[in-house]
Amino acid sequence: MAEIRLQQLAHSYSATPSGPEDYAIREMTHIWEQGGAYALLGPSGCGKSTLLNIISGLLSPSEGKVMFDSTVVNDMSPEQRNIAQVFQFPVVYDTMTVYDNLAFPLRNQGMAEAKIQIKVQEIADVLDLQPLLKKKAKGLTADEKQKVSMGRGLVRDDVSAILFDEPLTVIDPHLKWKLRRKLKQIHEQFNITMVYVTHDQLEASTFADKIAVMYGGQIVQFGTPRELFEKPHHTFVGYFIGSPGMNLIEVKPEAGGVGFGGIHLPLPDALQQRLASTQWTTLKVGIRPEFVHVWDGPFDDAMCADVTYVEDLGTYKILTLDLAGQSLKVRLQEDKPVPQGQAWISFPAQWLMLYADEFLLEAAVNQLPASEVPHE
């Protein structure tokens, strides 16, 4: 399989949905390409698990199509799709040994015992489960159980995609990184598509090549961790990624740009034109704490803000500033001097983002990809 395509997919749990709030997944079109390591990132309740269950076939979407290559698979049961899924809650068959657990899917397929043995040994090797093979699955620790769950997905040779639904939730923190590394290794070794659902941005950025951020039932941005950081397409992405998240301020349009509370922020011409021709109800600017420029002293157009709080975090500091009534966070490298009482800051144009109705507004040149055009 070369790709998983979601075509105008939407899902509502109610039989007669009356408005967008009834939809767990709002209409989306999205492609997952073969062999990629993807993360599906978002807060609880945004529809991540629903989406995963739709891809694997445990749930039938109320609208739209799920396609593997060019075949529509909506009516295919999970047994018929070549997909494995690892759940948040480690599922092992208590009465069987680890070996039998791993062999289970293969036995259900009717594979010959000799072949099963080879495959199970191979996967046990990869997951470091060798010493546990004869042990009953019941007595394992949570991370060992989760490895067995993953093993059951990997052991099948017809599997072309594995879906992970927050699999590290029950794992101890000091074991999480080990398992994450293991997953990365497996991905490189087997070249299977992997979709990893999580609400932890750190997990997402370390595991995935590309992250799909989900919010309110929609994929609001799909890109590399760096793209998500530098150019969030949605205020939620800005807020969710990064620690602390992006500063967001409500503004009104003014001549030459936008403004709030007496502060004027100039915008490039192209962007001003774009703004003028767009309908919007809320307008915000966003800038990441890392990108706010702090001057050593008063400067030309620099704005003056009051320093309300300084947090020292070792290699860097977080300043909380008050700019015309708005609270801002700024990240300062450890070698820079800490402004006392007042700080002089400016927002470099390349990092200042404009958001109309939560979505990024850009000058006409770069259009948002089709999968991210907001649907009402």
């Binding site: 269950n53 694997s56 445990l58 049961s77 999970p78 047994e79 997909i83 494995a84 899924q85 759940f87 948040q88 809650f89 599922v91 068959y93 208590d94 009465t95 069987m96 289970f104 899917p105 259900n108 397929q109 009953k136 019941k138 007595g139 769950s149 059951r152 997905g153």
Partner: protein
């Protein structure tokens, strides 16, 4: 839950202890007392040691009764446990049908035991009972639970199945409901057949409730008195006379207090022993 060591907790337990002790220890002492004495009347009694026990353990009446009882309990378990599991698997899990199903199934459990006997006593008669009439006149099978020993046996078994299978089914049903959905989902991904799902997921998860079911059914069937008594009075002959009835006849009917008391103790010990064996066997797997 981590419990705190505190002997003052005995104050909380005291009412229960006193109540049950009153109901259990005092009578038990009486029984033990009687079992080692020969009692003619209130004023003349003398110690006979283990005589009654010896007599009781050699009494052929008792052997017969005991054998009958074991066979009966064995049949009961053999039928009711698998049937209960099977019914639990077919019960709907939500919606109005689910409530209705639960209510209908609980009804037999709440009928006084003598009424259970009466219902079937009527139901099974050839003249006024639907079942009796149906068997005799429509299927032309001659059926008379009052005269024919095997008919009586079958009827008593059917009564028990009618009366108590719901308990097993409801216990298993609650066990099944506690299985998280995730297990079924994983099984589908693993392409497991229905049988594999039953064997590897449902059955193991039902172990604790099955234990309760087996023990309750064994204990209660081993102590059964009312239903067979109302139906056949123990007959024809003594083909449906089980242990409790034999004991009751000895104690109240014939007033053989000594042997009755000895028998009581033996009876109690048998139940205790077999229950313990069941319990250990079923939890043995857990110890690994």
């Amino acid at each position: 839950m981590s419990k705190v060591q505190n002997n003052k907790a005995w104050w909380l337990v005291l009412p229960v202890f006193l109540l049950v002790a009153f109901s259990a220890i005092i009578p038990m002492m009486t029984v033990v007392n009687y079992s080692v004495q020969d009692i003619f009347d209130q004023s003349s009694r003398y110690f006979v040691g283990a005589d009654w026990f010896r007599q009781v353990l050699q009494d052929p009446r008792l052997h017969d009764s005991l054998l009958r009882q074991f066979i009966y309990s064995f049949c009961v378990l053999l039928i009711e446990i698998p049937l209960g599991i099977a019914i639990a698997l077919t019960m709907p899990t939500k919606g109005r049908w689910s409530s209705l199903c639960l209510i209908v199934m609980t009804i037999p459990l709440l009928i006084p035991w003598n009424v259970v006997g009466t219902i079937w006593q009527i139901f099974g008669r050839g003249d006024i009972g639907l079942l009796g009439w149906f068997l005799n006149n429509v299927l032309h099978i001659s059926y008379n639970y009052a005269a024919n020993a095997s008919d009586a046996w079958v009827t008593v078994l059917v009564i028990d199945v009618w009366h108590w299978t719901s308990l097993v089914a409801l216990l298993c049903y609650s066990g099944l409901r506690a299985i998280p959905d995730v297990y079924y989902q994983a099984a589908r991904i693993d392409r497991a057949s229905n049988w594999a799902v039953f064997r590897h997921i449902q059955l193991p998860k039902m172990k604790s409730v099955l234990l309760i079911a087996v023990m309750l059914r064994f204990m209660d069937s081993f102590m059964i008195y009312t239903e067979p008594f109302v139906l056949t009075g123990g007959g024809p002959g003594n083909s449906t006379t089980f242990l409790s009835q034999t004991l009751t006849t000895m104690a109240l009917g014939q007033f053989d207090l000594g042997p009755a008391a000895a028998f009581s103790l033996v009876y109690f010990l048998i139940i205790l022993l077999v229950s313990w064996v069941f319990y250990t066997a079923m939890t043995h797997g857990e110890k690994n």
